[in-house]
């Protein structure tokens, strides 16, 4: 493992390369362009076997679905409108049970046109059957890349790992990128039981009549929900091999032990919340943070347990459900359906389209939630 000071995207591209993908297919789009460019550079240098330069994102994902169905380890990277354009095949990939992996540089959706960070693009694919992991920083994304392949190939479901655009993709920091040899010990070769093979012909992605269709979807649901165990297992195993862990792999608590007021969120803004928690703790406030790492499958049980003793909780999300209750907020509330008691749970939508959620903002949120009253605001 070598330490280097580089841009997050290039380090993530290197981590992906070290997982030895057979096929990469990308159409670069801000904010994940540099991941695609990094992978293209590795291809040009002969370190990646195949890189398909597609004419748009629908083709990128179609290409890697095909490659994966034929037994290849296949990967892409995209953002925002690119992921939206992939939408149709995003669902097909989960339904076909092809274990492809995508790095998502999170970015707002049009309109108005905006190239900056929020989670609308990946949250819009929430219901597709993909596993979604949200990373707090580029080091976590680097470490999540090999985990993503391993999880995908174990449960035969696609995985996207999500990285805040610009905040993480374009930040130059010092990272440790695990080498190919080290990853080989952690991530076995992809060897699917069923694949497109001329010696044993089958067709994948066939149609299903009303009598069977629902059964297939239910099967994906069951396996996706059960994959909580695998996400955790793979994370723990990675931690043992490489010495870096992120909470329990599903959620990460920060100063939760005696916390009465807890902010729940995901991704890079959690670094700012940690600073805010420390600042307010110095003033004697019992505040804490619960970071969701595995958004799908959602760790309902772990969330309910972590928040059980809190008086009030607020959910900060860079996503929304216009005209409804917001996605992460709904999931946190959903965690308490089987509980007799639950804390006051409030909702904050913030940071849309790159609107900076500063440490000061986070302190403000914690102070507001410490009043103990329910609120639903756009910060």
């Amino acid at each position: 493992m070598v330490k280097k000071t580089v841009e997050g995207s290039f380090a993530i591209a290197e981590a992906i390369k070290n997982c030895e993908p057979d096929v990469v297919a990308c159409y670069p789009i801000t904010s994940s362009s540099h991941i695609a460019e990094g992978l293209a550079q590795f291809y040009a240098d002969g370190e990646i076997k195949e890189y398909i330069r597609t004419e748009q994102e629908f083709s990128s994902i179609s290409a890697i679905v095909g490659a994966s169905a034929a037994g290849s380890r296949a990967v892409s990277a995209t953002s925002s409108q690119g992921l939206a354009l992939m939408h149709e095949v995003v669902y097909a990939a989960a339904g076909m049970r092809v274990p492809i992996v995508m790095a998502i540089g999170n970015r707002a959706l049009s309109a108005p046109l905006n190239i900056w960070d929020d989670w609308q693009d990946s949250i819009a694919e929430r219901d597709s059957g993909w596993i979604q992991i949200y990373c707090e920083n580029a080091q976590e994304a680097i470490d999540t890349a090999p985990q993503a392949f391993k999880i995908a190939e174990k449960v035969m479901l696609p995985v996207m790992f999500c990285i805040d655009g610009f905040y993480i993709t374009h930040s130059v920091e010092t990272f440790e990128v695990p080498g190919m040899e080290e990853i080989r010990k952690f991530l076995p070769k992809f060897n699917p039981k069923l694949k497109l093979d001329p010696k044993n012909p089958v067709s994948l992605g066939v149609y299903a009549m009303p009598t069977h269709y629902q059964m297939f979807r239910e099967d994906v649901h069951r396996d996706a929900a059960a994959s909580l165990k695998v996400v955790k297992q793979v994370h723990d195993q990675y931690g043992k091999t490489f010495g870096r862990t992120y909470g329990d792999g599903l959620v990460e608590g920060y100063k939760l032990k005696d916390a009465r007021f807890i902010l729940v969120s995901m991704a890079s803004v959690c670094g700012n919340i940690k600073e805010a928690v420390d600042a307010l703790r110095q003033k004697g406030m019992k505040v804490g943070l619960l970071r969701i790492r595995s958004y799908r499958p959602f760790p309902y049980g772990q969330v309910a347990k972590a928040l059980a003793k809190a008086k009030a909780v607020a959910v900060l999300e860079k996503s929304y459900n216009l005209g409804g209750k917001h996605p992460l907020y709904s999931d946190v509330i959903g965690s308490f359906v089987d509980e007799k008691k639950r804390p006051v749970i409030s909702s904050i939508v913030g940071g849309l389209g790159g609107k900076d959620v500063t440490v000061r903002d986070c302190e403000g949120m914690l102070k507001k939630l410490a009043k103990g009253k329910h609120f639903e605001v756009w910060w």
């Binding site: 900056w116 905040y167 930040s171 670094g271």
Partner: protein, 176 residues
């Protein structure tokens, strides 16, 4: 934690300057973070880039609002942008200009004709590397050798050497 804000115009290399500073500062074991504020990405438009240097892990991900240092790559920005916005008490400014200017709110303003120096060594008014030399001389936050190493790594061959000459001269000028 030290926060540095670079002000430049699109194409002048403010983003690269922030990155090279981070790479140079990491060399001596610091935690670093540099990133651009992407606005309208057009040549000539005012741009900002940030760099954080710390002896502890850097957890925050937000723009720099209260810098300890500001580096101005283009003196015409002084009329167009409030470069000293949020500058901390005791904050220091390093400005590329052939005049003597004083930045309002800065404890000290260091002026250097980086354009002249860059023209001399590179034949072009691209001042980002030269200004890093000035920054290193004024602040001592980063070793000039580490910056030179970072520059040689980034720009191969002759171009690297030209940039190193520019950064050297800027460093020497302000060291005096």
């Amino acid at each position: 934690m030290i926060e540095v804000r670079f002000h430049g115009r699109g194409g002048q290399g403010a983003v690269t300057a922030a990155e090279l500073l981070a790479v140079g500062a990491a060399e001596s074991g610091n935690y670093v973070q540099s990133f651009p504020f992407f606005g309208v990405e057009r040549r000539g438009a005012p741009v900002q880039a940030f760099c954080r240097i710390s002896d502890k892990e850097i957890r925050i991900h937000q723009n720099v609002y209260t810098p300890d240092y500001i580096v101005v790559l283009d003196s015409t920005l002084l009329q167009a942008v409030d470069v000293s916005a949020g500058l901390k008490k005791g904050g220091v400014a390093v400005v590329n200009t052939n005049k003597q200017v004083k930045i309002k709110g800065a404890e000290a303003t260091y002026c250097v004709d980086a354009t002249g120096i860059a023209r001399k060594h590179l034949g072009k008014p691209i001042v980002n590397t030269a200004m890093l030399g000035a920054f290193a001389a004024v602040t001592g936050l980063v070793k000039i050798d580490a910056l030179e190493k970072a520059i040689r790594h980034r720009f191969e061959g002759e171009l690297g050497e030209k940039n190193v000459a520019a950064i050297r001269e800027c460093y020497e000028v302000l060291k005096k």
